[in-house]
């Protein structure tokens, strides 16, 4: 199921960006509902790439809808 430390690090970074507590980020939460504005989601994705050695493309995000989807995809990118 991926590296739990990495998962936690990604989740903490997302929570930090969204100014929320990590435990409040439910895996089933829909990202666009969390950020409310799609531009904020773009910024969060870019910021994650600034913080972690990963490179994402639009194609990678096509199937990403929830917090859990994004975490899973980020972990897969670091594998």
């Amino acid at each position: 199921m991926g590296n739990p430390h990495t998962r936690e690090a990604f989740k903490n970074a997302m929570a930090n960006f969204l100014k929320r507590k990590p435990e409040s980020l439910d895996d089933n939460a829909v990202l666009l509902e969390l950020v409310q504005e799609s531009f904020l989601l773009v910024e969060m994705i870019i910021e994650l790439q600034e913080q972690f050695p990963i490179r994402l493309s639009q194609e990678d995000l096509r199937a990403v809808r929830t917090v859990g989807d994004l975490l899973q995809m980020l972990i897969a990118k670091t594998a």
Binding site: F39, E50, D60
Partner: protein, 204 residues
């Protein structure tokens, strides 16, 4: 006749307010992006770009005031339409490619607007001021994209630009479908998309 003048005035206020809110949206986006970027040339250019967009919003606000109007509070922005049509960019190259296409559309729109006969002086002057910055926006992004070729490949970047150019046409068509009556004065019976497309061809 007075009714038509009133309608034209109303459309002009809407359009200038639309420009203003798009500039504000751009400023907020580039400002936040510049804040999260690592130091370097792109961070510097993004910061200047952010400042330009904020200044343009001020110029449109002042322009509306000179016309004796106040900006309309519009919820809709052109950038949101872009994201809906193009999908979400996921890295800096995609953000810059999308911005490049968007800036071309802005330049076409502003230049078309600036050529209208009988334009109010504050509008003409504001458009001229903004157009100077817009040319620089195209230039720095083009150079930044060139610098990214080693990472993303020239072909990958060209493909991304083409994909976003197609989305641009879709987003503009959507705006026309919703607000064509307000933009009639600008369109003059032509398809405004043709200009953007020919610019795209010149670029490629």
């Amino acid at each position: 006749m007075p009714k038509d003048i009133a309608k034209d005035k109303e459309n002009q206020i809407w359009l200038l307010s639309f420009y203003r809110v798009s500039e504000i949206t751009g400023a907020l986006f580039f400002g936040r992006l510049a804040k999260s970027m690592k130091p370097g040339p792109i961070q510097m250019d993004l910061t200047r770009h952010f400042a330009d967009e904020a200044e343009h919003a001020r110029l449109w606000t002042d322009c509306l005031a000179k016309l004796g109007a106040v900006p309309l509070k519009l919820e809709e922005t052109y950038q949101e339409r872009y994201l809906a049509a193009a999908g979400m960019p996921a890295n800096l190259m995609e953000v810059l490619a999308l911005t490049q296409i968007f800036e071309r559309r802005v330049i076409n729109q502003y230049s078309r607007h600036g050529r209208l006969p009988g334009l109010d002086a504050p509008v003409r002057e504001t458009l001229a001021l903004i157009m100077e910055d817009e040319k620089w926006h195209l230039q720095w992004i083009r150079e930044a994209l060139r610098g990214m070729e080693s990472e993303y490949g020239a072909e990958g970047i060209a493909t991304t630009l083409k994909r976003y150019a197609a989305a641009d046409k879709e987003a503009y068509a959507d705006v026309l479908a919703r607000h064509g009556d307000r933009l009639d004065v600008l369109l003059g019976g032509n398809d405004a998309g043709e200009e953007a497309e020919s610019d795209q061809d010149r670029e490629d």
